[in-house]
């Protein structure tokens, strides 16, 4: 859907994007991650054609991205803004038409989304009179009202209460199910774990990693295993022998334990299963994968250590 090819961009001699290349597959949710100042906003502005790259190209559906493609792109910026003295419906109609919808289609879509988000009663209220969460909903609608093929969401969950976070996450999933490609720039790693198919980590203007979320987590797995069993704790500990280290243990029910183990050396999950076979009754065993939060910190730390 989107292919960023060797894009570089400087502002006042400061290199903000350094030879960035990434590919966002069609119909997927792509997490664009990175600490503050990593270059995410600049990259997003280039995708939205608010800024042009100094070098490199951006391809949209196979062709070099053009002004006309903006009609197929929806954008929710991190810093939200609306005209405070416009009424909700009028504002949405204005933005929908700016995105290229005819007046009739704009009316149809706006009314649908107002109904869908249950804010129809607020349609004639001025933006200034809305709560922050309500205004966020209006902004979210503004980003999707023209049924974009590509939706760029910059911190879409910030400012929402937990209830509305769920609502927005469900909407994002629903849009994906309808075939919309979504780029999600966020610091909320829980949401990345939950909804992103792929992710790229941008740091100091460079891509540190790009892969499916599952692969990224697997690559950074630290060899920890979760086990739940019934039996004797002493027998379990003896069975670990010198191949595994017991990190945590908890008796959740009488005679039922949950433990976290660290694999030592070249041992594997199969070795553990063999060791435990005659000692305890294993109910659940799982190789623990790091969260995206941990992957994120891990990658940044590795990069910082390289610099040192």
């Amino acid at each position: 859907m989107i292919n960023v090819a060797q894009v570089s961009k400087s502002y006042q001699r400061k290199l903000v994007l350094d030879d960035v290349s990434l590919e966002v597959p069609k119909g997927q949710i792509f997490g664009l991650l990175g600490p503050n100042g990593a270059g995410k906003t600049t990259l997003i502005r280039i995708l939205n054609q608010m800024a042009s790259p100094d070098s490199g190209k951006v391809y949209f559906n196979g062709h070099t991205i053009q002004k006309e493609d903006l009609q197929d792109i929806g954008y929710l910026p991190e810093e939200r803004g609306l005209y405070k003295y416009m009424a909700v419906r009028a504002h949405l109609l204005f933005l929908a038409q700016l995105r290229g919808l005819s007046k009739l289609k704009a009316i149809e879509n706006v009314d649908y989304w107002l109904q869908h988000f249950e804010i129809k009663d607020w349609q004639n209220k001025r933006i200034a009179s809305l709560s922050k969460g309500m205004a966020q909903k209006v902004q979210f609608i503004a980003a999707i009202v023209h049924q974009p093929k590509l939706l760029i969401l910059d911190e879409p969950l910030s400012g929402f209460d937990p209830l509305n976070v769920d609502l927005i996450i469900n909407e994002i999933k629903a849009l994906k199910a309808q075939g919309t490609t979504i780029i999600l720039s966020t610091h909320n790693m829980k949401s990345v774990d939950e909804i992103c198919d792929q992710a790229a980590l941008l740091h100091h203007g460079q891509i540190l990693a790009q892969d499916t979320v599952q692969h990224l987590r697997s690559k950074h797995a630290k060899g920890q295993i979760f086990v739940r069993f019934r039996g004797n704790m002493l027998g379990f500990a003896n069975a670990l022998w010198t191949d595994f280290t017991l990190l945590e243990q908890q008796e959740v029910l009488p005679g039922c334990f949950e433990c976290v183990l660290q694999i030592r050396g070249q041992r594997s999950v199969n070795d553990l299963m063999r060791n435990l076979q005659d000692q305890v009754q294993v109910e659940h065993l799982e190789l623990l994968l790091p969260s995206m939060q941990e992957v994120f910190i891990d990658l940044i730390t590795q990069k910082e250590n390289q610099h040192v």
Binding site: R45, N48, M50, A51, K67, L70, I73, Y75, P77, E79, R80, G81, L82, Y83, K84, Y85, M86, F94, L95, Q97, L98, R99, G100, K103, Q139, A142
Partner: protein, 413 residues
């Protein structure tokens, strides 16, 4: 609807939705109208004591005027032409305030010159006109027809009185007209400044509440800037139109009530014309208001594009209102400079510098209004149009440059 029109329409709707616009639309011109009436009434100088010398080489008037003479105006006759220099400087004419020059064919060409040493009150002008015109009518009626003097007045053509300052007998400076033009020109810059500030503030507001980022995901920065200038400019024009309508109604009302068309003899009673002052004459008789109004709009539109681009760029560079004030200072100086060049050109109408200012985009609106108020011929009107063209070209070039600067700065928070 195109994106540009959508943005422009939103700008217009936002301004029209503000109460301030409507207050200003009605109250603004009413205040101006009231001030004008006060000024016109205050300008009445009362009755002046005057000695009038009538140079009548053809002895047409036979040393005689009508029976009812004003006691404060004293008439004397000279049976020859008199050089203006001599009238101004010779000791023998020192006591005379006015020289009326009746040419020998005045009964046919119906034109006479009136030269005055000091500015004449309208009372005096009207009285003078009344006395001389009545006497000449009497003579024409007697010479050319058998009808009565009264019947003749119904069908006659008026005598053209050309009042001229002795120090400016060719009436080159037309100072009063020039000042009137200056006021029109200053009003252009006043409105440009007023609505330019609106562009400035609107740009800062869009930037500080970050809606600009949403808008720029759909439109080009230049499009956004131009739509703001055009939208707010159209609102300003609408406001001006409103002012024009209210002021025109006021003009008609005043002319029908307080300041009746006293130069039209049909409005004269038996006792002669009503009293009126020179400022009223200037406003109601000498200024070509429709022409001034039309050019006012043309120059306003062009200068709004010119200055609007500057206001928009400054708005894009600023991050907050307070921050923007310092950027505004040079722009306020430029507008003030335009006003000062107007004053300069009133006092020094024929200098090279005035010619230069006439084409300078910062000052040309004021100088064009002055030139139009003083009256124009083909040559001077061509110069006015040329200055408008220069202003328009400068505005378009500036818009192009401003668009680039706007693009580079609008997303810097």
């Amino acid at each position: 609807m195109s994106k540009f029109l959508l943005l422009t329409q939103r700008e217009i709707q936002e301004r029209l939705g503000q109460k301030g616009f409507w207050y200003m639309l009605v109250l603004g011109p009413l205040v101006v109208l009231l001030l004008l009436v006060a000024l016109l009434l205050a300008a009445d100088q009362g009755k002046q004591e005057l000695n009038v010398l009538i140079a009548d080489p053809g002895q047409i008037m036979d040393h005689r005027l009508m029976a009812q003479e004003e006691k404060n105006i004293h008439y004397f006759f000279l049976d020859d032409y008199l050089e203006l220099d001599e009238f101004e400087r010779a000791k023998s004419y020192h006591d005379f305030d006015i020289l009326v020059e009746l040419n020998e064919k005045v009964l046919n060409n119906k034109k006479c010159f009136v030269f005055y040493k000091d500015q004449l009150g309208l009372d005096a002008r009207m009285e003078l006109k009344f006395q001389i015109e009545k006497r000449l009518e009497e003579l024409i009626a007697a010479q050319h027809s058998d009808i009565s003097e009264q019947a003749f007045r119904q069908i006659k053509q008026g005598i053209i009185f050309d009042f001229r300052d002795l120090k400016d007998p060719k009436n080159e400076s037309k100072e009063a007209n020039a000042w009137a033009g200056f006021i029109f020109g200053s009003f252009i810059l006043f409105f440009v400044g007023l609505y330019g500030m609106t562009i400035f503030r609107a740009t800062i507001r869009e930037k500080s509440n970050r809606i600009v980022e949403v808008l720029l995901a759909s439109v080009r920065p230049q499009q956004l800037m131009l739509s703001k200038i055009v939208g707010i400019g159209l609102v300003a024009l609408l406001q001006l139109l409103g002012w024009g309508i209210v002021l025109s109604l006021g003009y008609v009302l005043l002319r029908e009530t307080i300041f009746v068309d006293i130069l039209d003899p049909s409005h004269w009673g038996e006792g002669g014309p009503e009293r009126l002052n020179p400022l009223s004459i200037l406003v109601f008789e000498q200024l070509n208001l429709p022409v001034l109004g039309l050019h006012f709009v043309m120059f306003f539109a062009a200068s709004f594009l010119f200055y609007g681009a500057l206001f928009a760029v400054l708005g894009a560079r600023s991050t907050a209102d307070a921050d923007g004030q310092q950027y505004l200072l040079p722009l306020i100086f430029l507008i003030s400079f335009g006003v000062f060049t107007g004053i300069f050109s009133v006092y020094f109408p024929n200098t090279t510098l005035t010619q230069f200012f006439a084409y300078l985009p910062f000052s040309s609106p004021v100088l064009a209004m002055i030139a139009l108020a003083k009256g124009f011929n083909v040559v001077s009107y061509t110069q006015i149009l040329l200055s408008l063209l220069v202003l328009l070209i400068s505005a378009f070039l500036l818009l192009k440059l401003a668009g680039r600067s706007y693009k580079n700065t609008i997303l810097k928070f």
